[in-house]
């Protein structure tokens, strides 16, 4: 199984890009603000109408029946909005294709460490708690493809690592996992492979240590590693 994107050329996004994702690997997507991470994830999820083709096992997403696509591919946007004050378990159940299955919902909530507030209304949860509920929604269907836009944003350090472990397990069971991250430490230490985007183009694709070398960290992110941790490089605050 593979998810492949070819030439998602759409201004300002990704000139002639070829990305192929395979099951089993936890793939990170990194890049500065506005680089095109969200646009790329959306395109891979079949949203938007740019030129270029995304294929799942060789079949273009555009011709895949909507139900089938929904059963195999899950996309988690970066925003945490739920329009109505629904219960957490009802929100998770929205991710199920077809009939409701209470066991699958309970299992997904437990995996995202959100079982404790399964019966609470999402409007009473903190942003981080709601993020875990929405992650459980994306996982509930055991999709073959997981495209996640900053699932670790708003999470405390323990839950950030928990989510990365969870995604590792999803990759381990044979899912294609692509996760956009701003936390470069997580990206470097927890991912098998990184895609680096900048200015709407794919800049590098490979093992984390190679993709995020010192030159790219300085040129693209304006940061450098030092003994004290991360420091800014080449960007200063006017006094």
């Amino acid at each position: 199984m593979s998810l492949a994107a070819t030439a998602l050329a759409r201004p300002p996004m990704l000139g002639a890009t070829d990305i192929v994702l395979h099951p089993g690997a936890l793939v990170g997507l990194v890049g500065p603000n506005g680089a095109g991470k969200t646009t790329l994830l959306r395109a891979l999820a079949g949203l938007g109408h740019g030129p270029g083709t995304v294929t799942l096992d060789g079949t273009p997403l555009a011709v895949l029946p909507a139900r089938l696509r929904a059963a195999r591919l899950a996309w988690l946007p970066a925003d945490r909005d739920v329009a109505w004050p629904m219960r957490a378990r009802d929100v998770v159940a929205l991710g199920l294709a077809g009939a409701g299955n209470d066991d699958a919902v309970a299992d997904a909530l437990a995996r995202a460490d959100a079982a404790a507030f399964a019966d609470r209304r999402v409007d009473t949860l903190s942003t981080g708690e709601r993020a875990r509920v929405l992650l459980a929604r994306a996982l509930v269907n055991r999709p073959a493809v997981l495209l996640l836009d900053e699932p670790t944003a708003n999470l405390d350090p323990g839950h950030r690592l928990h989510v990365m472990d969870l995604l590792r397990a999803e990759a381990g069971r044979g899912a294609i996992v692509l996760v956009a991250l701003h936390d470069l430490d997580l990206a470097m230490t927890r991912c098998d492979r990184l895609l680096l985007v900048a200015d709407g183009a794919l800049v590098a694709d490979g093992p984390p240590a190679e993709v995020l070398d010192a030159a790219r960290l300085a040129a693209i992110f304006g940061v450098a590693r030092s003994a004290e941790g991360w420091v800014t490089a080449g960007r200063s605050v006017a006094p």
């Binding site: 959306r42 999820a45 079949g46 949203l47 909507a66 139900r67 696509r69 929904a70 059963a71 591919l73 899950a74 996309w75 946007p77 925003d79 909005d81 739920v82 329009a83 109505w84 004050p85 629904m86 219960r87 009802d90 929100v91 929205l94 991710g95 294709a97 209304r121 929405l134 929604r137």
Partner: protein
Amino acid sequence: MTRLPAVLALALLPLVLASLFWDPAMLRAVAERDPALARTILMELRLPRTALAVLIGGALGLGGAAMQGLLRNALASPDVLGPSTGASLGAVFAGYFLGGGVLAVAAGGMAGALVALALLLALAGPAAGTATLVLAGVAISALAGALVNLALSLAPSPYALYDVMFWLLGSLADRSLPQLGIAAPIILVAGALLLRQARSLDSLALGEDVAETLGVDVARLRWTVVVATGVMVGAGVAVAGSIGFVGLVVPHLVRPLVGNRPGATLLPAMLAGAVLLVAADMAVRVPVNGQELKLGVLTALLGAPFFLWLVVKGR
């Protein structure tokens, strides 16, 4: 929670019987003197009036719940996009120029609702997003409202003005089988279509893009809800005038009872709308100052304070 529709249906049954056999002493007296007249009262006045209250109340509750689910806004009402104001305008025109016959007014109202919907489609375009749709709908609604007022100020005679004003207030008094024959099929078909959108409307709680990845054709859902709600509510206005606040308020009453799921709100909102309108239509039969109150006046009198209570509670 899943028993709510059954409870509401059970509440509706006695209300329907009470509405049919309203003032049983009078009915019995008539039946003893003239059985044929009693049958006529039952079949040609009470039955259509009660059935219309059930259908229109259900249409308003269901349409309101569907529109609020689609627009993801609890303040949306089924008439926000213009078809019901269009129906008012069409009915007023038919009243003026086609002699004001029962069928002419109903057909005019229905035509008005359809013209407003066609205008909405033309103005917003088939691929319109929700914000564009609402803007276009509000504009059409305002234009139709202005034209209704223009027609009122140019009324050919004081009697015509009086008739139209009273008609606009909304009432089910003296409605008979022809009106039922016009409204019932439209409301039943559109209502069945709306009830089938429950799961899609639930998905929409997570936003249009997530709904799309969950297998919902959002553009089709949008037009299905807009057109079905429009013709359903338009049919109601065409035979009964405008009955306000039911579509806005009823979904609020039932939504917390179904876990605030927009799709699960549809069926109970439909039944609760029917319960409310049948009850209200009986209440207006009690004469005040020698007159039947207008149904639309009563629903607004009940609905507006309820809305105030929502505001105070949410403060």
